[in-house]
């Protein structure tokens, strides 16, 4: 039975006990514990149910590779499913719950799957593909709901996440991933050579396996002491940055690395502290010193709680002072696992036997075990593990005769099938691997391919165990060589040095992929390979029988390695079993692809600070605060927030818009037009440049005059419009649509930089420099006068329509344009943005006696529609020409060329049945056509296809006309004046409307005379 030993545990602080809860039960651990070690110390062996069969599962590992102990951690907004207990640091008040069971962890209905699976092949390889084919209707009504209910691990959180997350960019000469002996050594070499080093470690402490396996002496010191001293010496070097709790998540092109830092995960809720920080690193060189992961052995019922990786068993003893069992059986194919037998023995547990799948076990470590009286049985394996919820007995048998079983009573099985180098980060960037037969592992083969930097030379190397150098001596000499190689690639060199390593000699491991069993276990359907996805040896063999040749296909067919652990403990075993079943060598069935991230990272870390108030930038005009304080009901326009209308008490949007329209047409209205794009175009070639950009002539514009201009793309389609002002002989000010400012500026620069680079023209986007205010209505002139507006030359009364005048209010220089988007007598006034709020308030005060009211974007839209003015994005959709909109008058026939001109000769543009802009007056004036409603040639019964002849582009209730109005693009629209069109709606009703001129109000333009 697992328990906390009275002493020991190098990572825990016994003076600082902390409380936590698991499935409602209050438990105690220590600062320094992981959730896994604390649960084990409390004899919590059963931690969850498996995905498919809902089999009871417990801890296997002590690190990132843990496939079973996935728990829900936290509560409310901080709840997060699928957290590895082995990687979750314990904190005071931590709340954890087990997953994937109902009604309780101990008694689970879903385990019926497993019971049934004994008789019929439920969830075997390809189960979904084979089962859910017929009958067809059953997919929707039976199979899919069932799968959805059963699918997935854990519950998604439902409350908003209260934590913050952020990104961090950094640069270094050498990034060293992994703070074990190899990482420390390689970092030391690179740092001594003078490189700027960033050394990261995914756990909270330096040393890696050296913390546990202290029987290795480095330079005469035990490995853990050496690691501590080395970490301290690195910390003292000014060119070394060291960070714990950072995982190398992904390696990308040219030294671009994604790292994942757990900042506040172990202390949630600290003010301002991000929970996770995503590092984006540019490293000139990278050393991948990520160690190796121990492989399970594949024997019957090897998934029972209490069956663990051998290395993890001694980790819990040494690091956390937790003894996982009173009595144990160790089963292995290598010498290293004997360290676990020794560790268990020294911790006071009874090691009933070490079963060695090799024919002989004569290394130093087996010798040490024998000397302590631990029975060593070469040529043995486990025939079957027994126990209801955890290991109770183990049936062992000679590999040569699986039926000759003997019974051992124990509560722990420590297994070791050898080690797999963690080559993930090397592989992300394109590093190639080769199968090494003797050590039964894939190790890097940089000669065939390695990640490269921007100059095309190798920039990423594995070091130590990650490079396949498992023995301590090899590991350190490899780390020295790789650290030196990274430095050399930077043109740096450290004085030669090589640590002296003394470690017990180890005999070679021997691959052992499947332990035979007898009876109903013989086929391997309880020999688990992928613990997280419940894939067994039988599944892989079935796939092989059904013709799956490549591991990539087998993976998808059986779901091997496709769970959240991405097969860290299962891929190699699965591969070997497939190869064995096919009678092929392992490399022949291929390898799976490693993809980032190494371990799952939080979605919050990817979003970073882009959430809540900072989710998306909201651009605000200088008058924004006034709008917000005065009933402004905002809508997004581009990235800006503009008032749709200003609502007074008791007013809805429609009433506010109607009031604003009537007030502007009857008295005077004020609009914040700051968001309109403003681009200065200056230079000797500015006139000819603008003649090429606009469809109409701009070179003929007089200084001080304004002209409405259209811009088309090279296909002849209208994409922006606005008023152009000639400020000087060689200088123009272009107004663009609100959303089009950046696009138009980019368009101008693209043509200037790529096609017309010989033109002497500068363009400058000055949208942000100016606050701009439209004053519209019969009292607009009087309001400006009352505000104290004085023109630099001439008088306000004499300023003609479409003219510009520099002016001032008090000592504030302003620009006055007499332009109108409402058909009223109207002006636009621009001032430097710093004075925008002041000018706005000055105009409101000046217009108070004249009945001034601000109006929003909707009143603007209604008024322009009443006048038949088009709006980019309403009347245009990227397929509409100026001619379609009746704007031929703004398309020059004189100019030799302009963007779009050639396109106007295309057959599609010149055909006579194009859609044309018209007005629409509904037969019932109270009915407003829905936006986008389609006109049809002939109304047919519901469900019958109808030929559409056009659609509504703008539609409003006109307060000044007291009826609805609409604009539409209709096939041959201009020929249809007076024709009544049908607009069938959803639900079968039909709106009838008469085609009219699109100018509904003040056709003669008397109001702006």
């Amino acid at each position: 039975m697992p328990h906390r030993m009275p002493e020991g545990g190098v990572l825990i602080d016994r003076s600082r006990p902390i409380r936590f809860r698991f499935n409602g039960e209050e438990l105690q651990g220590y600062v320094g514990d992981t959730l896994a070690s604390a649960l084990m110390a409390n004899d919590k062996v059963l931690l969850g149910r498996s995905f498919k069969y809902h089999r009871p599962r417990g801890l296997i590992a002590s690190g990132a590779e843990e496939p079973n102990a996935l728990l829900g951690v936290g509560e409310g907004g901080r709840f997060e499913p699928n957290q590895r207990a082995t990687m979750t640091e314990l904190y005071d008040g931590l709340v954890a719950t087990s997953q994937n069971h109902w009604p309780s962890l101990e008694f689970d209905i879903g385990a019926m799957n497993a019971a049934v699976a004994n008789r019929i092949p439920v969830f075997s390889a390809g189960f979904y593909y084979k089962t859910f084919m017929y009958p067809r209707a059953a997919w929707k009504h039976v199979y899919e709901p069932f799968i959805r209910h059963a699918a997935g691990l854990g519950q998604a959180p439902t409350d908003p996440d209260p934590d913050v997350y952020e990104h961090y960019h950094t640069f270094c000469d050498v990034l060293v991933v992994g703070g074990g002996v190899a990482g420390l050594m390689a970092a030391r070499r690179a740092a001594e050579a003078g490189a700027e080093v960033l050394l990261i470690e995914q756990t909270g402490h330096w040393g890696g396996r050296a913390l546990t396996d202290t029987d290795t002496l480095i330079d005469g010191q035990p490995a853990d002491a050496w690691a501590e001293a080395m970490a301290a010496s690195l910390a003292a070097m000014p060119n070394v940055r060291m960070r714990t709790r950072i995982m190398g998540a992904g390696g990308y092109d040219h030294g671009w690395w994604l790292l994942y830092e757990r900042v506040a995960e172990h202390s949630p809720g600290e003010e301002g502290m991000p929970r996770h920080r995503l590092w984006k690193v540019r490293a000139k060189q990278c050393v991948v010193a990520t160690g190796a992961i121990e492989r399970p052995l594949t024997f019957a019922e090897n998934d029972k709680p209490g069956v663990m990786l051998a290395s993890a068993v001694r980790d819990y003893i040494r690091l956390y002072g937790v003894r996982p069992a009173r009595s144990a059986v160790v089963v292995a194919n290598n010498d290293d696992a004997y360290r676990t037998a020794l560790s268990l023995h020294r911790a006071g547990a009874t090691v009933k036997a070490v079963l060695d799948t090799r024919a002989e076990a004569n290394g130093a470590l087996p010798g040490e075990a024998r000397a302590l009286g631990i029975p060593v049985r070469p040529g043995y394996g486990i025939a079957k593990v027994e126990g209801t919820m955890r290991v109770e007995t183990v049936r062992i048998a000679p590999l040569a005769d699986p039926s000759a079983v003997q019974l051992l009573v124990c509560d722990l099985v420590a297994m070791s099938g050898g080690w797999s180098p963690v080559v993930h980060l090397f592989s992300h960037g394109g590093g190639k691997l080769r199968w090494e037969e003797e050590m039964a592992m894939f190790r890097p083969e940089p000669e065939r391919g390695a990640p490269i930097g921007p100059d095309g030379s190798v920039n990423t190397r594995c070091a130590g165990a990650a490079n396949g150098a498992l023995a301590a001596g090899d590991c350190l000499s490899d780390a020295v060589a790789v650290g030196d190689a990274a430095a050399e690639a930077l043109g740096r060199q450290a004085p030669p040095a090589m640590p002296e390593v003394a470690a017990p000699a180890e005999s070679p491991m021997e691959p052992h992929w499947f332990t035979p069993a007898s009876g109903k276990y013989a086929h391997g359907n309880k020999h688990f390979v992928d613990f997280q996805n419940d894939v067994t040896a039988a599944d892989i063999r079935l796939a092989a029988r059904e013709g799956y040749e490549s591991v990539e296909h087998t993976k998808r067919y059986t779901t091997l390695g496709m769970a959240t652990d991405q097969g860290k403990t299962s891929n190699i075993n699965g591969l070997a079993l497939l190869a064995e079943a096919r009678g092929e060598p392992i490399p022949a069935v291929g390898t799976t692809t490693f993809r980032p991230p190494y371990m799952p990272i939080s979605l919050g870390s990817i979003a970073g600070r882009s959430r809540g108030d900072l989710f998306k930038v909201i651009r605000e005009t200088p008058m924004h605060a006034w709008h917000a304080a005065n009933g402004g009901d905002f809508e997004p326009v581009g990235d800006w927030f503009r008032p749709y209308c200003y609502r007074r008490a008791g007013e809805d949007r429609d009433a506010a818009v109607a009031r604003e329209v009537l007030n502007a047409r009857g008295k005077v209205g004020l609009l914040d037009a700051t968001t309109l794009g403003k681009i200065v175009v200056k230079g000797p070639d500015a006139p000819s440049f603008l003649d090429l950009i606009y469809t109409n002539m701009m070179s003929s514009l007089k200084i001080g005059a304004c002209r409405y201009g259209l811009m088309c793309n090279e296909n002849g389609f209208l994409f922006d419009d606005g008023v152009v002002v000639r400020m000087a002989e060689d200088e123009y000010l272009l107004h663009t649509t609100t959303g089009g400012a950046d696009r138009v500026h980019g368009h101008l620069e693209e043509w200037l930089q790529t096609e017309w680079w010989d033109l002497q023209v500068f363009t400058q986007n000055v949208t942000e420099q100016w606050a701009q205010i439209a004053i519209a209505g019969p009292q607009s002139r009087a309001t400006l006068a009352a505000a104290g507006l004085v023109l630099e030359e001439g008088t306000l009364q004499d300023l003609a329509f479409m003219r510009y005048a520099p002016a001032r209010i008090s000592d504030l220089p302003v620009r006055l344009y007499r332009i109108s988007f409402s058909g009223e007598l109207a002006f636009e006034l621009a001032c430097p943005a710093s004075a925008g709020m002041g000018l706005w308030e000055r105009l409101l005060a000046a217009g108070a006696d004249h009945g001034i009211q601000p109006y929003g974007t909707e009143a603007l839209h209604v008024m322009r529609a009443e006048k038949g003015f088009i709006m980019i994005g309403d009347e245009t959709d990227g397929t509409v020409t100026p001619q379609d909109l009746g704007l031929s008058w703004a398309v020059s026939k004189k100019k030799a060329d302009f963007i779009g001109k050639r396109a106007f000769d295309r057959i599609d543009i010149t055909r006579e049945d194009r859609k044309q802009l018209v007005g629409l007056l509904t037969e019932d004036p109270t009915v407003v056509l829905p936006d986008g409603a389609h006109a049809v040639a002939e109304v047919k019964a519901a469900g019958q296809p109808m030929k559409t002849i056009g659609h509504v582009t703008s539609t409003y209730r006109s307060p000044v006309l007291g009826r609805s109005i609409a604009m539409a693009l209709i096939e041959r629209g201009r020929e249809r004046m007076g024709e009544v069109l049908d607009f069938p709606l959803e639900g079968g009703s039909v709106i009838r409307a008469t085609v009219s001129d699109p100018v509904f109000y003040d056709k003669e333009g008397a109001r702006n005379a």
């Binding site: 960019h169 301002g272 984006k280 882009s610 005009t621 200088p622 002497q760 420099q769 504030l812 004075a835």
Partner: protein, 192 residues
Amino acid sequence: MHELQRVSAAPAVAGAVHESGHFVRVAESGLRGQVTLRGDLATPAMARAVNEAVGLAVPDRLRGNFDGPRAVLWMARDELMLLLPHEEARAAAAQASAALSDTHHLAIDVSDARTIFTLTGENAAALLAKGAPVDLSATGFPVGTVRRTHLGEIAIAFWRREETVWEVMGFRSTAPHLAEWLRTSSLLGAAV
């Protein structure tokens, strides 16, 4: 009659200072005169125009020259930005334009287009590194370096005036976003 007061940013942003509880002091730096100057940066006329306006030399690529409230920043291969007292900017733009009248150029007062924040502290670079993909180390970004880049989602420029003093410039309309980003990212708990 209502005063035509000049303000550097939205009410919640203008003049705001965050110091206590922050690992970097973040302060909106008020009205600053800003003039965009475009033309051939290598000409004697440009050197004269810049010298007349701010008394400084044309900076090298990605560099700025500084003298109290006056500075000249390299913005692009044909673009500089002059910093000077706000009330001088309009005249300075006109004067520069006159000095460059014989060459193709643009000199324009854009003093109100951008809002500037001053970051002070040993770890100011770490604050910017949370949003800008730029090497901000002492060697990668020595004093006097200028960079146009992005901070999170928004376009910005920043420069290192002194070892521990940085200035960050963003478009005026995005200043509330930039201010909030700098405020929350500089909280003590978020120190890197």
